[in-house]
């Protein structure tokens, strides 16, 4: 067992999968000599050579289009989008092509492809280096989406993603890259895509969350247990698509109260689907309104520090929301 950051785990997992399966190639802007702007591909060029670690021209449409073609012809590409905010030029290739390939060929042709993208804010990245973009892909059947928040989940889900026969979007919260360290077991670890994980047990209320907000939820749960004797259960979705509706139903069936927490903006975010699911399927179980605590409906997170902080949900917000919900 070694203690690792998330970005180290990503790098090591990429190396392990590349060593295991020579069809795995990495491509993107600055992934080779520079090793990626976050160093997530550092060292891969030296170890696997420039046939398998490819610096691309500047163009996300091309990166994903090339990756799709390579996947159709037998490779297992792992494409890096330098920042999730720059994924939009690739939307046509992702949505029209990768996501629909299996369906439109009636199952004849798959598109095994991973698109890694650092996302999220709180690192002074401003409007265009802070975005959460998962909701755009969440509405696309045919795609899978991972958003791990711990080193072990990063390892297990990335391994699963690379071995998956369908296209997977793999979102890495950049604020967690180096701020979260934990033990990661050596050897193979596969976390099935589509399984949420109970990160903390409790009977009074469920926080359903993912990404950086997991850690805020856990911090809040600790404090609420101590100060308020409220036992909060924390469900980490980990994968957003397929959504683990079973795990969501199980926790809310138990606690009867749900707080949905994400950093992404509110309207049309992933939390809306979780809430809608609960309002339809667990109506009888609910003892209180389903509350979402999210980023605000503004285009993106500003650069100025005070504005950036004003965007992000804070510990106090979570504490207050839980207390109100528990008292309902």
């Amino acid at each position: 067992m070694a203690v690792k950051t998330i970005v180290e785990t990503i790098r090591d997992t990429l190396a392990e999968e590349m060593a295991r399966d020579e069809r795995v190639v990495v491509l993107g802007e600055d992934v080779a000599a520079k090793g990626g702007v976050f160093k997530a591909t550092d060292g891969l060029l030296g170890r696997f050579g420039d046939d398998r670690v490819i610096d691309t021209p500047l163009g996300e449409d091309g990166i994903v289009g090339v990756a799709i073609g390579a996947a159709l012809n037998g490779l297992r590409p792992v494409a890096e989008i330098q920042f999730a905010d720059f994924i939009y030029p690739a939307m046509d290739q992702i949505i029209s092509e990768a996501a629909r390939m299996r369906y439109r060929t009636n199952g004849a042709l798959g598109c095994p492809l991973v698109i890694r993208a650092p996302y999220g804010g709180g690192v002074h990245g401003a409007l265009y280096h802070s975005q959460s973009v998962e909701a755009f892909f969440f509405h696309v059947p045919g795609l899978k989406i991972c958003a791990p928040a711990t080193p072990a989940d990063a390892k297990g889900l990335l391994t699963a993603a690379i071995r998956d026969d369908d296209p997977v979007l793999f979102f890495e919260h950049k604020r967690l890259y180096r701020s979260i360290k934990a033990e990661v077991a050596a050897g193979e670890l596969v976390v099935p895509i589509g399984q949420a994980d109970l990160k903390r047990r409790g009977d009074d209320l469920s926080i359903i969350t993912y990404g950086a907000m997991l850690h805020l939820a856990l911090e809040a749960a600790d404090q609420l247990a101590q100060d308020d004797r409220i036992a909060v259960e924390v469900l980490d979705l980990r994968s957003l698509l397929p959504l683990d509706r079973e795990a969501i139903a199980t926790t809310v069936h138990k606690t009867s109260r749900a707080l949905i927490l994400h950093e992404d903006t509110r309207t049309g975010g992933v939390g809306a689907e979780v809430a809608a699911f609960l309002a339809e399927e667990l109506f009888d179980d609910l003892d209180a309104p389903i509350v979402r605590l999210t980023g605000p409906d503004v285009p993106a997170m500003p650069y100025n520090h005070a504005l950036e902080q004003a965007f992000l949900p804070r510990l106090d917000d979570v504490l207050a929301a839980v207390r109100r919900l528990a008292a309902f």
Partner: protein, 367 residues
């Protein structure tokens, strides 16, 4: 084959080149028969459409020489091919059958491209390495570069061929695909079936250059302008590009100048935007007529031989229509299949919690 800037096809009238070809008489007849089958099948889909037996068709008519001529240079099942929606001639050359295409026309379960999910002419056949056509245009161009990247990494001798119209050369996909291929000197041939119209938009409103071939300069790759009504000229241009690709010389852009002899599709009325004179002129360079004349001049084909081939083509199409129309439709329930490799439980909470869910799986549960 010429690499000069030329006026719109239909305005020149050079005879088809036959000299550069090394094809045997049998192969030449084969080429002609495939063009004939393409045309016959295509014409039939318009008839069926007018009869209300299929709601859509889109044509290869006028493009047959470019399609069959180029595909004749490819090795079916080895080279990787990304066609576009006009490429009846390409896919028939590579081994798809009239039945396959008619199954797609009638949207039948046995349609090998999509099981009736896609529109007609959205080709695809895994054994023939014919990649799946989609409707958003030009997306296949960077994909072709990616398929060629895989070939290069594995040191294979296969080549990728990708087809598209001249309208697609305005798309960012075109640029990113050709740029990537040129940086990595990938074994891929970009074949533009340049008919001078993107639905109603003429070449002058599509690009600031007179020929698509000129676009190649931006990528440091050869841009070869070829008379696309001349099957053998296209064949030999493709052979040269293939040899270049296999020798590590990188990609080639072939600009095959053709003319679209039909409206854009069965939904279009082309009288709104192009003159009947222009169309009449183009009919005088119908690639089928030109190639038949060439074969007749070389005494490979005579009038009775031609008549026989036509009857064969008609018979094949008759048979395909009958077969396909009688073939079963996909089951309505199959709508939910093949979203992922493994079916995904996207249902509601566990049955324990809700024995009678109102809406178990995202579709109306009451039906």
């Amino acid at each position: 084959m010429r690499s000069t800037t030329e006026p719109r096809p239909g305005t020149t009238a050079s005879p088809p080149s036959t000299t550069s070809s090394r094809l045997s008489s049998a192969r030449l007849l084969d080429l002609y028969s495939t063009m004939l089958l393409s045309r016959t099948l295509d014409e039939r889909t318009w008839l069926l459409n007018r009869q209300g037996r299929g709601s859509f068709t889109i044509s290869c008519q006028g493009h047959e020489a470019a399609q069959v001529g180029s595909a004749f240079a490819l090795r079916s099942g080895q080279d990787v091919v990304f066609p576009y929606y006009r490429d009846v001639g390409v896919v028939l050359t590579l081994g798809m059958t009239a039945r396959d295409l008619m199954l797609a026309f009638f949207a039948r379960a046995a349609d090998p491209a999509s099981g009736g999910r896609q529109m007609p002419n959205h080709f695809g056949s895994v054994p023939h390495k014919i990649m799946s056509v989609s409707s958003p245009v030009a997306t296949q161009i960077p994909q072709a570069a990616g398929a060629a990247l895989a070939i290069k990494i594995r040191h294979e001798s296969a080549v990728v061929a990708v087809y598209f119209g001249e309208g697609c050369t305005s798309s960012g996909h075109f640029h990113e695909g050709l740029n990537f291929a040129s940086v990595h000197r990938l074994p891929v041939i970009f074949i533009c079936e340049n008919n001078g119209w993107a639905i109603s938009v003429p070449r002058e409103k599509q690009m600031g250059v007179a020929t698509v071939a000129e676009r190649a300069a931006a990528y440091g790759m050869p841009g070869v302008s070829v008379d696309g009504t001349d099957a053998l000229a296209v064949y030999s241009a493709t052979i040269q590009a293939l040899e270049r690709a296999r020798a590590g010389g990188g990609p080639t852009l072939i600009d095959a100048r053709v003319y679209r002899l039909t409206p854009h599709s069965s939904d279009d009325d082309d009288r709104r935007y192009r003159s009947s004179e222009e169309l009449a002129l183009a009919h005088r360079r119908d690639p089928l007529d030109l190639f038949r004349q060439a074969l007749q001049e070389r005494q490979i084909l005579d009038r009775t031989g031609d008549e026989e081939l036509r009857q064969q083509a008609t018979a094949a199409v008759d048979e395909a229509v009958a077969f396909a129309e009688a073939s079963p439709e996909p089951a309505p329930d199959s709508l939910h299949l093949h979203v992922y490799r493994e079916p995904v439980a996207s249902g509601p909470g566990p049955p324990i919690l809700k024995p009678q869910p109102l809406n178990p799986d995202g579709v109306a549960p009451w039906q």
